[in-house]
Subunit: 195 residues, 2 copies
Protein backbone atom coordinates (compact mmCIF):
# COMPACT_ATOMS: atom_id res chain seq x y z
CA UNK A 1 0.00 0.00 0.00
CA UNK A 2 3.02 2.32 0.40
CA UNK A 3 4.85 2.21 -2.90
CA UNK A 4 8.59 2.33 -2.29
CA UNK A 5 9.45 3.55 -5.78
CA UNK A 6 6.46 5.41 -7.22
CA UNK A 7 5.98 5.10 -10.95
CA UNK A 8 4.62 7.82 -13.21
CA UNK A 9 1.57 7.35 -15.39
CA UNK A 10 1.63 6.20 -18.97
CA UNK A 11 3.02 3.21 -20.80
CA UNK A 12 5.73 2.60 -18.17
CA UNK A 13 3.12 1.90 -15.50
CA UNK A 14 1.15 -0.26 -17.90
CA UNK A 15 4.05 -2.51 -18.78
CA UNK A 16 5.24 -2.69 -15.16
CA UNK A 17 1.76 -3.77 -14.03
CA UNK A 18 1.48 -6.37 -16.82
CA UNK A 19 4.92 -7.79 -15.99
CA UNK A 20 3.99 -7.94 -12.30
CA UNK A 21 0.78 -9.75 -13.26
CA UNK A 22 2.75 -12.50 -15.02
CA UNK A 23 5.17 -12.71 -12.08
CA UNK A 24 2.29 -13.05 -9.62
CA UNK A 25 0.63 -15.75 -11.75
CA UNK A 26 3.95 -17.51 -12.04
CA UNK A 27 4.70 -17.47 -8.31
CA UNK A 28 1.28 -17.75 -6.68
CA UNK A 29 -0.96 -19.11 -9.42
CA UNK A 30 -4.33 -18.05 -10.67
CA UNK A 31 -6.38 -18.98 -7.59
CA UNK A 32 -4.39 -16.72 -5.24
CA UNK A 33 -4.12 -13.87 -7.73
CA UNK A 34 -5.24 -10.43 -6.50
CA UNK A 35 -4.97 -6.92 -7.90
CA UNK A 36 -3.71 -5.82 -4.47
CA UNK A 37 -0.67 -8.09 -4.77
CA UNK A 38 0.04 -6.83 -8.27
CA UNK A 39 -0.17 -3.22 -7.09
CA UNK A 40 2.14 -3.93 -4.16
CA UNK A 41 4.65 -5.70 -6.38
CA UNK A 42 4.58 -2.87 -8.94
CA UNK A 43 4.86 -0.20 -6.26
CA UNK A 44 1.65 1.63 -7.17
CA UNK A 45 -1.64 2.13 -5.37
CA UNK A 46 -4.32 -0.37 -6.26
CA UNK A 47 -6.59 2.41 -7.55
CA UNK A 48 -3.94 3.03 -10.23
CA UNK A 49 -4.45 -0.53 -11.42
CA UNK A 50 -8.24 -0.41 -11.16
CA UNK A 51 -8.25 2.80 -13.22
CA UNK A 52 -6.99 0.82 -16.24
CA UNK A 53 -8.39 -2.63 -15.57
CA UNK A 54 -11.88 -2.96 -14.07
CA UNK A 55 -11.25 -6.42 -12.62
CA UNK A 56 -8.63 -9.14 -12.35
CA UNK A 57 -9.99 -10.98 -15.41
CA UNK A 58 -9.40 -7.94 -17.63
CA UNK A 59 -5.92 -7.48 -16.19
CA UNK A 60 -5.00 -11.15 -16.64
CA UNK A 61 -6.32 -11.24 -20.22
CA UNK A 62 -4.23 -8.18 -21.06
CA UNK A 63 -1.11 -9.62 -19.44
CA UNK A 64 -1.54 -12.93 -21.23
CA UNK A 65 -1.93 -11.20 -24.59
CA UNK A 66 1.16 -9.09 -23.93
CA UNK A 67 3.26 -12.13 -22.95
CA UNK A 68 2.19 -14.08 -26.01
CA UNK A 69 2.76 -11.14 -28.36
CA UNK A 70 6.21 -10.37 -26.92
CA UNK A 71 7.47 -13.94 -26.75
CA UNK A 72 5.86 -15.53 -29.80
CA UNK A 73 6.62 -12.91 -32.45
CA UNK A 74 5.19 -13.19 -35.95
CA UNK A 75 8.05 -14.29 -38.22
CA UNK A 76 8.59 -12.83 -41.70
CA UNK A 77 11.84 -14.19 -43.08
CA UNK A 78 10.59 -14.44 -46.68
CA UNK A 79 10.31 -18.23 -46.74
CA UNK A 80 7.54 -20.38 -45.31
CA UNK A 81 9.97 -23.10 -44.15
CA UNK A 82 11.92 -20.64 -42.07
CA UNK A 83 8.83 -18.84 -40.81
CA UNK A 84 7.10 -22.00 -39.58
CA UNK A 85 10.27 -23.23 -37.89
CA UNK A 86 10.76 -19.85 -36.23
CA UNK A 87 7.17 -19.83 -35.03
CA UNK A 88 7.43 -23.36 -33.61
CA UNK A 89 10.74 -22.57 -31.94
CA UNK A 90 9.27 -19.47 -30.28
CA UNK A 91 6.39 -21.56 -28.94
CA UNK A 92 8.85 -24.12 -27.58
CA UNK A 93 10.99 -21.47 -25.87
CA UNK A 94 7.91 -19.80 -24.43
CA UNK A 95 6.37 -23.00 -23.04
CA UNK A 96 9.73 -23.66 -21.35
CA UNK A 97 9.80 -20.17 -19.75
CA UNK A 98 8.27 -19.17 -16.39
CA UNK A 99 5.89 -16.74 -18.10
CA UNK A 100 4.81 -19.40 -20.61
CA UNK A 101 4.13 -21.82 -17.77
CA UNK A 102 2.16 -19.15 -15.93
CA UNK A 103 0.02 -18.42 -18.97
CA UNK A 104 -0.59 -22.12 -19.63
CA UNK A 105 -1.68 -22.58 -16.02
CA UNK A 106 -4.42 -20.00 -16.60
CA UNK A 107 -5.29 -21.56 -19.96
CA UNK A 108 -6.00 -24.98 -18.47
CA UNK A 109 -7.75 -23.72 -15.34
CA UNK A 110 -11.19 -24.45 -16.74
CA UNK A 111 -10.24 -27.98 -17.78
CA UNK A 112 -8.70 -28.53 -14.34
CA UNK A 113 -12.02 -27.61 -12.73
CA UNK A 114 -10.79 -24.32 -11.32
CA UNK A 115 -12.63 -21.04 -11.60
CA UNK A 116 -11.20 -19.25 -14.62
CA UNK A 117 -11.89 -16.21 -16.76
CA UNK A 118 -14.55 -17.82 -18.97
CA UNK A 119 -13.22 -16.98 -22.40
CA UNK A 120 -10.55 -14.36 -22.13
CA UNK A 121 -7.67 -16.79 -21.82
CA UNK A 122 -8.73 -18.80 -24.83
CA UNK A 123 -9.40 -15.64 -26.80
CA UNK A 124 -5.77 -14.73 -26.26
CA UNK A 125 -4.66 -17.80 -28.19
CA UNK A 126 -7.31 -17.51 -30.85
CA UNK A 127 -6.38 -13.87 -31.37
CA UNK A 128 -2.70 -14.72 -31.65
CA UNK A 129 -3.41 -17.46 -34.18
CA UNK A 130 -5.42 -14.92 -36.18
CA UNK A 131 -2.55 -12.41 -36.03
CA UNK A 132 -0.17 -15.12 -37.27
CA UNK A 133 -2.21 -15.98 -40.37
CA UNK A 134 -0.23 -13.59 -42.65
CA UNK A 135 2.71 -16.01 -42.36
CA UNK A 136 0.60 -18.40 -44.44
CA UNK A 137 -1.11 -15.93 -46.74
CA UNK A 138 2.26 -14.42 -47.67
CA UNK A 139 3.54 -17.92 -48.50
CA UNK A 140 0.49 -18.52 -50.71
CA UNK A 141 1.13 -15.19 -52.45
CA UNK A 142 4.76 -16.17 -53.06
CA UNK A 143 3.58 -19.45 -54.59
CA UNK A 144 5.15 -21.57 -51.82
CA UNK A 145 1.82 -23.09 -50.76
CA UNK A 146 -1.30 -24.11 -52.71
CA UNK A 147 -3.99 -21.49 -53.36
CA UNK A 148 -6.79 -21.76 -50.84
CA UNK A 149 -4.63 -23.11 -47.99
CA UNK A 150 -6.51 -22.55 -44.73
CA UNK A 151 -4.03 -20.50 -42.68
CA UNK A 152 -5.54 -21.28 -39.27
CA UNK A 153 -5.51 -25.04 -39.87
CA UNK A 154 -1.87 -24.87 -40.88
CA UNK A 155 -0.80 -22.76 -37.89
CA UNK A 156 -2.65 -25.02 -35.45
CA UNK A 157 -0.97 -28.07 -36.97
CA UNK A 158 2.43 -26.44 -36.42
CA UNK A 159 1.90 -25.76 -32.73
CA UNK A 160 -0.36 -28.64 -31.60
CA UNK A 161 2.42 -31.28 -31.15
CA UNK A 162 4.30 -28.89 -28.86
CA UNK A 163 1.36 -28.20 -26.54
CA UNK A 164 0.41 -31.88 -26.58
CA UNK A 165 3.81 -32.86 -25.22
CA UNK A 166 3.90 -30.07 -22.64
CA UNK A 167 0.36 -30.64 -21.36
CA UNK A 168 -0.37 -34.34 -21.85
CA UNK A 169 2.75 -36.49 -22.06
CA UNK A 170 4.94 -34.13 -20.03
CA UNK A 171 7.85 -34.59 -22.40
CA UNK A 172 10.62 -32.04 -22.75
CA UNK A 173 10.24 -30.01 -25.93
CA UNK A 174 13.18 -28.53 -27.82
CA UNK A 175 14.16 -27.17 -31.23
CA UNK A 176 14.01 -30.68 -32.65
CA UNK A 177 10.36 -30.92 -31.58
CA UNK A 178 9.72 -27.54 -33.19
CA UNK A 179 11.40 -28.33 -36.50
CA UNK A 180 9.63 -31.70 -36.76
CA UNK A 181 6.23 -30.11 -36.11
CA UNK A 182 6.88 -27.42 -38.73
CA UNK A 183 7.94 -30.06 -41.29
CA UNK A 184 4.79 -32.14 -40.73
CA UNK A 185 2.53 -29.12 -41.14
CA UNK A 186 4.34 -27.94 -44.25
CA UNK A 187 4.21 -31.38 -45.90
CA UNK A 188 0.49 -31.62 -45.18
CA UNK A 189 -0.09 -28.12 -46.59
CA UNK A 190 1.81 -28.94 -49.77
CA UNK A 191 -0.25 -32.13 -50.11
CA UNK A 192 -3.32 -29.82 -50.14
CA UNK A 193 -4.70 -31.21 -46.86
CA UNK A 194 -5.60 -27.71 -45.67
CA UNK A 195 -7.36 -26.51 -48.82
CA UNK B 1 -19.98 -46.13 5.98
CA UNK B 2 -23.05 -48.43 5.92
CA UNK B 3 -23.15 -49.91 2.44
CA UNK B 4 -26.75 -50.20 1.29
CA UNK B 5 -26.04 -52.85 -1.35
CA UNK B 6 -22.92 -54.76 -0.34
CA UNK B 7 -20.79 -56.02 -3.19
CA UNK B 8 -18.86 -59.28 -3.14
CA UNK B 9 -15.11 -59.42 -3.69
CA UNK B 10 -13.41 -59.94 -7.01
CA UNK B 11 -13.50 -58.15 -10.35
CA UNK B 12 -17.02 -56.81 -9.79
CA UNK B 13 -15.87 -54.73 -6.82
CA UNK B 14 -12.80 -53.60 -8.71
CA UNK B 15 -14.72 -52.30 -11.70
CA UNK B 16 -17.41 -50.72 -9.50
CA UNK B 17 -14.77 -48.85 -7.49
CA UNK B 18 -12.96 -47.69 -10.63
CA UNK B 19 -16.21 -46.46 -12.18
CA UNK B 20 -17.09 -44.63 -8.95
CA UNK B 21 -13.62 -43.04 -9.00
CA UNK B 22 -14.24 -41.56 -12.45
CA UNK B 23 -17.71 -40.39 -11.37
CA UNK B 24 -16.27 -38.73 -8.27
CA UNK B 25 -13.54 -37.01 -10.32
CA UNK B 26 -16.15 -35.94 -12.83
CA UNK B 27 -18.53 -34.47 -10.26
CA UNK B 28 -16.24 -33.15 -7.52
CA UNK B 29 -12.87 -32.81 -9.22
CA UNK B 30 -9.42 -33.93 -8.18
CA UNK B 31 -8.94 -31.55 -5.24
CA UNK B 32 -12.03 -32.79 -3.36
CA UNK B 33 -11.43 -36.44 -4.21
CA UNK B 34 -11.36 -38.87 -1.26
CA UNK B 35 -11.33 -42.66 -0.96
CA UNK B 36 -14.14 -42.32 1.60
CA UNK B 37 -16.42 -40.76 -1.00
CA UNK B 38 -15.59 -43.47 -3.52
CA UNK B 39 -16.31 -46.20 -0.97
CA UNK B 40 -19.62 -44.57 -0.04
CA UNK B 41 -20.63 -44.21 -3.68
CA UNK B 42 -19.70 -47.82 -4.43
CA UNK B 43 -21.46 -49.12 -1.31
CA UNK B 44 -18.40 -50.78 0.23
CA UNK B 45 -16.38 -50.06 3.35
CA UNK B 46 -13.33 -47.90 2.82
CA UNK B 47 -11.04 -50.68 4.05
CA UNK B 48 -12.20 -52.70 1.03
CA UNK B 49 -10.84 -49.95 -1.18
CA UNK B 50 -7.63 -49.51 0.80
CA UNK B 51 -7.01 -53.27 0.59
CA UNK B 52 -6.54 -52.92 -3.18
CA UNK B 53 -5.23 -49.39 -3.52
CA UNK B 54 -2.82 -48.03 -0.91
CA UNK B 55 -3.68 -44.38 -1.55
CA UNK B 56 -5.82 -42.14 -3.71
CA UNK B 57 -3.00 -41.64 -6.24
CA UNK B 58 -2.85 -45.38 -6.93
CA UNK B 59 -6.61 -45.58 -7.23
CA UNK B 60 -6.82 -42.59 -9.56
CA UNK B 61 -3.99 -43.88 -11.79
CA UNK B 62 -5.78 -47.22 -12.09
CA UNK B 63 -9.14 -45.60 -12.87
CA UNK B 64 -7.58 -43.33 -15.48
CA UNK B 65 -5.87 -46.27 -17.18
CA UNK B 66 -9.13 -48.23 -17.17
CA UNK B 67 -11.10 -45.33 -18.67
CA UNK B 68 -8.55 -44.76 -21.41
CA UNK B 69 -8.29 -48.48 -22.24
CA UNK B 70 -12.06 -48.94 -22.39
CA UNK B 71 -12.86 -45.80 -24.35
CA UNK B 72 -9.88 -45.50 -26.67
CA UNK B 73 -9.61 -49.08 -27.97
CA UNK B 74 -6.70 -50.15 -30.15
CA UNK B 75 -8.05 -50.46 -33.70
CA UNK B 76 -7.07 -53.32 -36.02
CA UNK B 77 -9.15 -53.06 -39.18
CA UNK B 78 -6.37 -54.20 -41.49
CA UNK B 79 -5.68 -50.80 -43.05
CA UNK B 80 -3.67 -47.96 -41.58
CA UNK B 81 -6.04 -45.31 -42.96
CA UNK B 82 -8.99 -46.84 -41.18
CA UNK B 83 -7.05 -47.58 -38.01
CA UNK B 84 -5.74 -44.03 -37.61
CA UNK B 85 -9.17 -42.54 -38.29
CA UNK B 86 -10.75 -44.93 -35.78
CA UNK B 87 -8.14 -44.03 -33.17
CA UNK B 88 -8.62 -40.29 -33.71
CA UNK B 89 -12.41 -40.65 -33.62
CA UNK B 90 -12.21 -42.55 -30.30
CA UNK B 91 -10.07 -39.79 -28.83
CA UNK B 92 -12.58 -37.17 -30.02
CA UNK B 93 -15.54 -39.07 -28.52
CA UNK B 94 -13.67 -39.61 -25.27
CA UNK B 95 -12.61 -35.96 -24.86
CA UNK B 96 -16.27 -35.03 -25.37
CA UNK B 97 -17.45 -37.48 -22.66
CA UNK B 98 -17.75 -36.77 -18.92
CA UNK B 99 -15.13 -39.41 -18.11
CA UNK B 100 -12.74 -37.98 -20.70
CA UNK B 101 -13.19 -34.52 -19.22
CA UNK B 102 -12.60 -35.92 -15.73
CA UNK B 103 -9.38 -37.62 -16.81
CA UNK B 104 -8.15 -34.51 -18.62
CA UNK B 105 -8.81 -32.45 -15.50
CA UNK B 106 -6.41 -34.68 -13.59
CA UNK B 107 -3.91 -34.60 -16.46
CA UNK B 108 -3.61 -30.84 -16.45
CA UNK B 109 -3.66 -30.42 -12.67
CA UNK B 110 0.10 -29.99 -12.47
CA UNK B 111 0.13 -27.38 -15.23
CA UNK B 112 -2.75 -25.59 -13.50
CA UNK B 113 -0.66 -25.32 -10.34
CA UNK B 114 -2.75 -27.84 -8.40
CA UNK B 115 -1.34 -30.68 -6.36
CA UNK B 116 -1.41 -33.75 -8.60
CA UNK B 117 -0.16 -37.29 -8.65
CA UNK B 118 3.38 -36.51 -9.81
CA UNK B 119 3.69 -38.86 -12.74
CA UNK B 120 0.92 -41.43 -12.63
CA UNK B 121 -1.49 -39.42 -14.76
CA UNK B 122 1.06 -38.80 -17.45
CA UNK B 123 2.20 -42.41 -17.35
CA UNK B 124 -1.35 -43.42 -18.21
CA UNK B 125 -1.10 -41.60 -21.53
CA UNK B 126 2.44 -42.71 -22.25
CA UNK B 127 1.44 -46.30 -21.53
CA UNK B 128 -1.57 -46.05 -23.80
CA UNK B 129 0.52 -44.61 -26.62
CA UNK B 130 2.93 -47.52 -26.15
CA UNK B 131 0.05 -50.01 -26.30
CA UNK B 132 -1.16 -48.38 -29.51
CA UNK B 133 2.16 -48.71 -31.34
CA UNK B 134 1.21 -52.04 -33.02
CA UNK B 135 -1.24 -50.07 -35.17
CA UNK B 136 1.82 -48.59 -36.84
CA UNK B 137 4.14 -51.60 -36.78
CA UNK B 138 1.43 -53.75 -38.40
CA UNK B 139 1.06 -51.10 -41.15
CA UNK B 140 4.82 -51.15 -41.72
CA UNK B 141 4.70 -54.98 -41.93
CA UNK B 142 1.90 -54.74 -44.50
CA UNK B 143 4.01 -52.32 -46.55
CA UNK B 144 1.60 -49.42 -46.02
CA UNK B 145 4.19 -47.24 -44.31
CA UNK B 146 7.95 -46.82 -44.84
CA UNK B 147 10.31 -49.14 -42.97
CA UNK B 148 11.65 -47.49 -39.85
CA UNK B 149 8.60 -45.32 -39.21
CA UNK B 150 8.68 -44.23 -35.55
CA UNK B 151 5.32 -45.46 -34.22
CA UNK B 152 5.17 -43.13 -31.22
CA UNK B 153 5.83 -40.01 -33.31
CA UNK B 154 3.08 -41.00 -35.70
CA UNK B 155 0.52 -41.75 -32.97
CA UNK B 156 1.28 -38.45 -31.18
CA UNK B 157 0.84 -36.56 -34.46
CA UNK B 158 -2.59 -38.16 -34.90
CA UNK B 159 -3.90 -37.13 -31.49
CA UNK B 160 -2.11 -33.82 -30.81
CA UNK B 161 -4.47 -31.57 -32.86
CA UNK B 162 -7.45 -32.95 -30.93
CA UNK B 163 -6.01 -32.25 -27.47
CA UNK B 164 -4.74 -28.86 -28.65
CA UNK B 165 -8.26 -27.78 -29.58
CA UNK B 166 -9.83 -29.17 -26.42
CA UNK B 167 -7.25 -27.72 -24.04
CA UNK B 168 -5.97 -24.55 -25.68
CA UNK B 169 -8.38 -23.04 -28.19
CA UNK B 170 -11.50 -24.53 -26.61
CA UNK B 171 -12.93 -25.45 -30.00
CA UNK B 172 -15.48 -28.20 -30.45
CA UNK B 173 -13.90 -31.34 -31.89
CA UNK B 174 -15.78 -33.82 -34.07
CA UNK B 175 -15.22 -36.60 -36.60
CA UNK B 176 -14.04 -34.03 -39.13
CA UNK B 177 -11.30 -32.96 -36.72
CA UNK B 178 -10.38 -36.62 -36.22
CA UNK B 179 -10.23 -37.51 -39.90
CA UNK B 180 -8.19 -34.40 -40.74
CA UNK B 181 -5.67 -35.15 -37.98
CA UNK B 182 -5.33 -38.75 -39.16
CA UNK B 183 -4.79 -37.61 -42.76
CA UNK B 184 -2.05 -35.15 -41.79
CA UNK B 185 -0.20 -37.79 -39.76
CA UNK B 186 -0.48 -40.38 -42.52
CA UNK B 187 0.76 -37.98 -45.19
CA UNK B 188 3.74 -37.05 -43.03
CA UNK B 189 4.49 -40.73 -42.35
CA UNK B 190 4.40 -41.58 -46.06
CA UNK B 191 6.73 -38.63 -46.75
CA UNK B 192 9.18 -40.36 -44.34
CA UNK B 193 9.04 -37.58 -41.76
CA UNK B 194 8.89 -40.09 -38.92
CA UNK B 195 11.76 -42.34 -40.04
Amino acid sequence: MCPSAPLGRGPKVRSAVLAATIDELSERGYAAFTIENVAHRTGVHKTTVYRRWPDREALIADALAESVAAEIPIPDAGSVDEDLRALARSVVAWTNSPSGRAVLAVMVSTTAGLPAPPNSARHVFRDRIRQTLPVVTRAVDRGELPDGTDPAELIKTVVAPIYFRVLITGEQVDEGTADAAAAVALTAARARLFT
